[in-house]
């Protein structure tokens, strides 16, 4: 038996809509009679949590402790006037959004402008129209309650997601392992950018016992937290799989079987897994519907596309994959990428794999290997906003 509770989260319950009348209001007014009139007016309007200050200095001292939801502020006061109170409150991040309703007998346009410039939220002119003042107060309080609730929601989740994002970054190979490929005569650069806090992309590399380099680039369907969950599962599975002898085709088929047992229907991943063999100068790989790998061979004007057709993993048990090869001679460069790189929209047209190859070729002609990727990423960013998780891996062979 499974029961699902459809209530809002606990957080929302604790911050549920309070009646605006429960709000704390601070009246700042130096004239005793005016102050009493305002307080009486607020009481008649149903407000009971009312504090007061007799000038600006006292108001500023009181506010952090009283924590008002709204300040009703006079302008002309001894010691510190209302303009300065506005300015000082706005300079304090804690009171950026605190509604400040100025009430003043100053009727000139310049005074109102000055008050708004100083940070007032609203301005009413004396003599006070009681109904109007109460209506304005309620509008500000309701608005503030809404903003508060939404901000609390975001703050609560932002902390959690920041931790989760760090966990996801730790799934990727540590820098030390990336440096290790240098002794194989290879240079690896990578770029990993989920489209929101978390994403469905994953990549990995291992130096196999026989000295070859194995590399994975995985893109789970969807993005966000759900897709990220699947990268954690894949990472757990990969860590437990035997890597020797390593054969990309058999490995991919085995991954598919494991994922088919775990993933919900409609979820899947495209995977490209391959081995760089520097002795034979080949990149041998298997692909489950990943974007085609690109290789620049020294002397060629244009890159070569590897065939990458194959059923994504997690869709059908028993799927088989093909062994494929593409030459990667000394001085050659291999680019693996998630589909966000080629499915980038420039206006109403999609960049496409050919467009990506063109941009990457231009970038590669201009800068050395170690800067190639950062230039390519900049070029892609110039084209338009990325709506999906982007991962790019570049493996360059020394000449």
């Amino acid at each position: 038996m499974t029961v699902r509770i459809e209530s809002p989260s606990r957080l929302d319950l604790s911050n549920g809509d309070r009646a605006p009348e429960a709000a704390a209001i601070l009246v700042v007014e130096d004239n005793e009679i005016n102050r009493q009139v305002l307080i009486a007016l607020l009481r008649r309007g149903g407000f009971s949590n009312i504090g007061f200050a007799v000038d600006g200095t006292e108001a500023l001292a009181l506010i952090p402790e009283f924590q008002p939801d709204l300040v009703l502020l006079d302008l002309m006061m001894p010691r510190l006037d209302g303009f300065d109170v506005c300015r000082r409150l706005r300079a304090d991040p804690r009171f950026h959004d605190l509604p400040i309703l100025v009430q003043s007998s100053m009727k000139r346009s310049e005074d109102r402008s000055r008050a708004f410039d100083a940070g007032a939220t609203d301005y009413v002119t004396k003599p006070i129209n009681a109904l109007e003042l109460l209506a304005r107060i309620r509008i500000h309080l309701q608005n503030r309650a809404l903003v508060r609730r939404l901000q609390d929601y975001r703050q609560h989740h932002e902390t959690d997601l920041a931790l989760a994002r760090n966990m996801q970054l730790r799934l990727l190979p540590p820098a030390a392992r990336q440096d290790e490929v240098r002794r194989l005569g290879l240079r690896l650069t990578s770029h990993f950018a989920p489209s929101s806090e978390l994403g469905g992309d994953f990549w990995d590399l291992r130096i196999l016992p026989d000295g070859r380099l194995a590399v994975w680039l995985v893109d789970f369907s969807g993005h966000g937290v759900g897709a990220a969950v699947n990268t954690f599962r894949l990472h757990t599975i990969l860590r437990r799989m035997a890597m020797a002898p390593f054969d990309p085709v058999g490995h991919l088929a085995a991954l598919n079987e494991k994922l088919c047992g775990l993933l919900q229907f409609g979820q899947f991943a495209t995977v490209l897994v391959g081995v760089v063999d520097c002795e034979s100068g080949q990149f041998s790989y298997a692909s489950a519907g990943a974007p085609p790998p690109l290789v620049w061979v020294p002397g060629d004007d244009t890159p070569r596309f590897g065939n990458s057709a194959g059923l994504p993993i997690g869709i059908r048990s028993g799927a088989t994959y093909q062994a494929r090869q593409i030459p990667l001679p000394p001085g050659g460069r291999l680019l693996l990428y998630s589909d966000a790189a080629s499915e980038l929209w420039c206006g109403s047209a999609m960049l496409g794999e050919d467009g990506l190859a063109r941009i990457a070729t231009e970038a590669g002609a201009q800068v050395p290997d170690d800067r190639f990727l950062s230039v390519l990423v900049d070029r892609l960013a110039e084209l338009g906003p990325m709506s999906d998780d982007l991962t790019l891996l570049v493996l360059s062979r020394d000449t």
Binding site: G266, F268, A309, G310
Partner: protein
């Protein structure tokens, strides 16, 4: 994504246009519901005007096929073009979903 349903004698034809992405989840659910409840056994998704499908969109097509198979109906993708055709080919989905070119 937008769609238009046409009931024919022996099949239901759904013209799908625009981009099929993550954002269309609710629409696709409603569409699957509608197709599951319509009588013809053959349900044709006319995707000639569909210009883009992302991975979530593809997942939704797989779910649609599965849900319709559960009620003994066949889902057919009719004449995918451009990026949609390329994605379906690279992912070898012609072995999973019926595609008519």
């Amino acid at each position: 994504m937008n769609y238009r349903i046409e009931q024919r004698e022996h099949e239901v034809a759904v013209e799908i246009s625009g981009r099929l992405t993550f954002n269309d989840h609710a629409k696709v659910r409603a569409l699957i519901e509608e197709l599951s409840n319509s009588a013809p056994l053959r349900q044709v998704l006319d995707v000639r005007q569909l210009e883009f499908v992302d991975s979530t969109g593809m997942g939704m097509l797989l779910i649609a096929r599965e849900e319709l198979a559960k009620v003994a109906k066949t889902l057919v993708l009719y004449q995918p073009q451009g990026q949609v055709k390329r994605v379906l080919t690279v992912a070898e989905l012609d072995g999973v979903i019926t595609i008519e070119n």
